[in-house]
């Protein structure tokens, strides 16, 4: 301990008589002050007394001298008593009473020029401050009496005082006494008032402390350097399994729960909160700690916590962040349990429930897309020229696309299943080994299950849309148009061509009463074909003076007993040279003269396996397209005709008898 500190401590010790009182209590502070005051008076006064005493003795004033010294000794005694556990009033009396005698003695005896009386003026203050109002006032009154007697009663004192002097002397004493009494009264009143204020403040604080400590939620405030402020709710300690968190860095407490990169982003988030960069809703939306797993640094204990943060401004003008922390582990567990149980029992119900939140139009698109991807997958599966490994590589794209769509629409259970399948396929894809039959069968079966769920969605849509029967019929042709639009888009995207669907006229009756499925397939195939083979590349078209955007026109007419479907494009028309090549290579024409016969060559187009595409790519390449159309049309006892003009385009015309609608397509 340094020298200065030692000296300070000694000084304090002496002045407070070693009483280290708790500063919280108002009355104890009061008492401490009195101790200090008395000690001060003892030193100050005592020194004077001894000095005066010695002086007097030296000057032969023995009685005065002795009186002084006696007083001084009393003071010293009082000092000693102060340091004991005796009540203060003992030392007080021990000092004041002798002093009273001293003052009375000097007053009565006069002294040089009557200066003895001057001692009296210090008495009221000492008496009242040290002994309190009642005792002090009483003793001061005694001294006043002695003073009055000295001044006015002849013979009481050896000195004779002039009347004027006497009045003044007593008057001033009364003044000093009054002032002291007033001061003491105001002090007492102030103390009472302060005590009352303190009590109510304490009561408030206790109330708040009780609330804070009984909160089940962790509540705390954080300053701009992420230091947790001292006043936080008790629950916080329990939730975070930490104690003494005041002034600790909140982010440090999360060290084991988040990555370094996340910590930096979290700091960015808090900056946004401090600055009120966004409204409360948005801040809550992006809150990274909205739900997270808290890992305790030392014990590795894990909990799921939910936090919210809001900026608040305190009286000191600074902005703090008010944070709440809740332990939601139980809730999350329960929810997962519920979901798992539900999942097992009511899988379809749940996925249908999710579906309700999606607008029907959008859901319809989704179903169409999913069916499209499924058809694509099926085509890949059927392709015998591909190895199973390549099949998996290709299928992956479609499954991934289906999953992305499901995620966007929030179809959680559907997307989760798709995700699982996607993972399985990815493993097969990335593995070098050949994909086994069992693997493929498994994927097929899983796809089947997924498609059944999709069927459920379709049924739901049908129920919703069939609510207004007029609406439902209109929906069908709208749906057909959308499907064809989509087909053109897809086909265009596959080959880098641009084309538009132009609807020349669709007779709704034909769509609703005709063999819708077959018609849709025929139109899709013809439309796809138009894009693949008819429409040229954009650059080529521009060079030929055609608009970059090709058009594929579709019309469906109903006349008498016939449904006539037409698909035409403004493309390059049939490439007879290419057809001839392929016909020759595949040996499709028996009669040599047919090679020049445009009609015969046209017929060749419909032969199974025929295709003029150079690469055996997805749809057109395998050449089953037109053959399928021809078979379909034949089944329905219809006809298919085509016309082509070189450089201008091609027209396909399919005619089917309207009553084909009546017969069920299963038996042909």
């Amino acid at each position: 301990m340094s020298e200065t500190k030692k000296k300070v401590n000694l000084f304090t010790n002496v002045m407070t008589s070693g009483k280290s009182l708790n500063g919280r209590d108002e009355s104890q502070m009061d008492t401490l002050i009195r101790y200090i005051l008395l000690n001060f008076l003892i030193f100050f006064g005592g020194t004077f007394l001894f000095a005066f005493g010695v002086n007097n003795l030296l000057h032969g004033q023995t009685i005065m001298g002795l009186a002084d010294i006696l007083m001084g000794t009393a003071a010293v005694t009082a000092f000693v008593v102060l340091r004991t556990n005796a009540p203060f009033v003992v030392s007080g009396l021990l000092t004041v009473i002798p002093f009273l005698f001293l003052c009375s003695f000097f007053t009565q005896s006069g002294g040089a020029q009557g200066s003895g009386i001057l001692w009296a003026y210090s008495f009221p203050m000492m008496a009242i401050f040290l002994l309190g109002m009642n005792l002090g006032l009483a003793l001061s009154g005694v001294l006043l009496a002695i003073m009055a007697l000295t001044m006015f009663l002849p013979g009481f004192s050896p000195v004779v005082f002039e009347r004027q002097f006497a009045y003044r002397a007593v008057g001033v004493y009364v003044l000093v006494l009054s002032i002291t009494v007033m001061y003491e009264i105001t002090k007492i009143t102030k103390d009472k008032w302060v005590a009352r204020l303190t009590r109510s403040l304490k009561a408030e604080r206790d109330e708040i402390a009780t609330m804070k400590d009984n909160l089940k939620v962790g509540l705390f405030m954080m300053d701009s350097s992420y230091a947790i402020q001292p006043l936080y709710s008790k629950a916080l300690e329990e939730i975070l399994s930490e104690t003494n968190m005041q002034r600790r860095n909140f982010l440090d407490l999360l060290n084991s729960s988040i990555q370094q990169r996340e910590r930096e982003t979290l700091m960015d988030y808090f900056t946004m909160v401090f600055n009120r960069s966004y409204d409360a809703q948005m801040l809550e939306d992006i809150n990274p700690l909205h739900q997270f797993t808290y890992v305790h640094g030392a014990t590795d204990e894990r909990k799921v916590l939910r936090c919210t943060f809001a900026p608040i401004q305190r009286d000191d003008g600074n902005v703090y962040v008010l944070g709440t922390v809740q332990n939601v582990t139980r809730e999350v567990e329960l929810q997962n349990q519920l979901e798992a149980e539900e999942g097992k029992r009511q899988d379809e119900m749940r996925s249908l429930f999710e579906v309700i939140h999606v607008e029907p139009r959008v859901l319809n698109d989704f179903i169409e897309d999913t069916e499209y991807e499924f058809e694509r997958i099926n085509d890949i599966l059927k392709d015998n020229d591909r190895s199973s490994h390549d099949v998996m590589v290709d299928i992956y794209q479609s499954v991934h696309a289906m999953k992305s769509n499901a995620v966007i629409l929030g179809l959680k259970s559907f997307s989760t299943k798709l995700h699982a399948l996607e993972d399985e396929i990815r493993v097969m894809r990335d593995d070098d080994r050949e994909v086994s039959f069992e693997d493929v069968l498994h994927v097929t079966v899983e796809l089947d299950k997924l498609m059944r769920i999709k069927d459920g969605f379709s049924e739901l849509i049908a129920k919703i849309t069939s609510f207004g029967t007029g609406e439902a019929k209109m929906q069908e042709e709208h749906v057909l148009v959308q499907t064809l639009e989509r087909t053109i888009e897809r086909a265009g995207a596959d080959l880098g061509k641009k084309a538009n669907l132009v609807v020349k006229g669709i007779d709704a009756r034909a769509v609703s009463s005709g063999p819708r499925r077959a018609m849709k397939e025929i139109l899709m195939q013809l439309v796809r074909n138009a894009v693949y083979h008819g429409i040229e590349e954009p650059a080529f078209r521009l060079a030929k003076g055609k608009p970059e955007l090709g058009s594929v026109s579709v019309s469906i007419e109903l006349s008498d007993d016939k449904i006539v479907m037409q698909v035409s494009d403004d493309g390059r028309g049939l490439d007879f040279d290419a057809i001839r090549e392929k016909a020759r290579a595949m040996n499709l024409l028996s009669d040599p003269s047919d090679f020049e016969d445009k009609n015969a060559l046209t017929q060749v187009l419909f032969a199974p396996g025929f295709s003029t595409a150079k690469k055996a790519d997805m749809y057109a390449g395998r050449g089953i397209g037109l053959n399928l159309v021809k078979d379909r049309v034949k089944e329905m006892r219809g006809t298919i005709k085509l016309q082509s003009e070189d450089g201008k385009g091609t027209v396909f015309k399919v005619t089917i008898p309207a009553e084909a609608a009546m017969s069920t397509p299963v038996t042909a």
């Binding site: 059927k382 039959f437 493929v440 097929t444 299950k449 069927d455």
Partner: protein, 158 residues
């Protein structure tokens, strides 16, 4: 569903090998729509009930049925006559019988006697509503193909 399908496939392979002496090449499964027209000439339907409901159907074209009859009985036929139907029925019965043992023991399934349907574009009555059928193609005798079609609803959701 796989657990029901795989035994059928294995049984097909073994029966064709032991009985007919023909090697089967199992092709990749794909989907077929129930309502699509098909090109098969003769089908054998094996029904399933119990913890799963559905059917397994073996379909083939005329040429293959004639070849199989030949392989089995040594007789030559020009058409899909009653004897051919009997011969095919015989083969299917064996397949069903072998499958029955394995499936009924391992799962709570009951396998029905097969019924044979014939005629171009014949209708197959599938016992359940869903539209999709998984078709597993088998190659036999190098050039011929027949199909094992499956549509099964499982109440356990598997």
């Amino acid at each position: 569903m796989e657990k029901y399908i795989q035994p059928f496939i294995d049984v097909c392979v073994s029966v064709f090998k032991d009985f007919i002496g023909a090697e089967l090449v199992t092709g990749r499964p794909y989907f077929v729509d129930k309502n699509d027209p098909h090109e098969w000439d003769i089908s054998a339907v094996i029904g399933l009930t119990g913890e799963a409901r559905g059917a397994v159907v073996i379909s083939m074209k005329r040429e293959l049925s004639l070849k199989l009859t030949n392989a089995l009985t040594g007789t030559e036929h020009k058409d899909l006559d009653d004897e051919v139907v009997d011969a095919i029925g015989e083969i299917i019965n064996i397949i069903a019988g072998n499958a029955k043992r394995g499936l009924e023991e391992s799962f709570r399934l009951v396998i029905s006697l097969p019924t044979i349907v014939r005629g171009k574009g014949h209708t197959i009555m599938w016992p359940n509503e869903q539209a999709r059928i998984i078709c597993i193609p088998f190659k036999i005798f190098e050039t011929e193909t027949f199909c094992l079609s499956v549509a099964i609803d499982s109440s356990s959701g598997v």
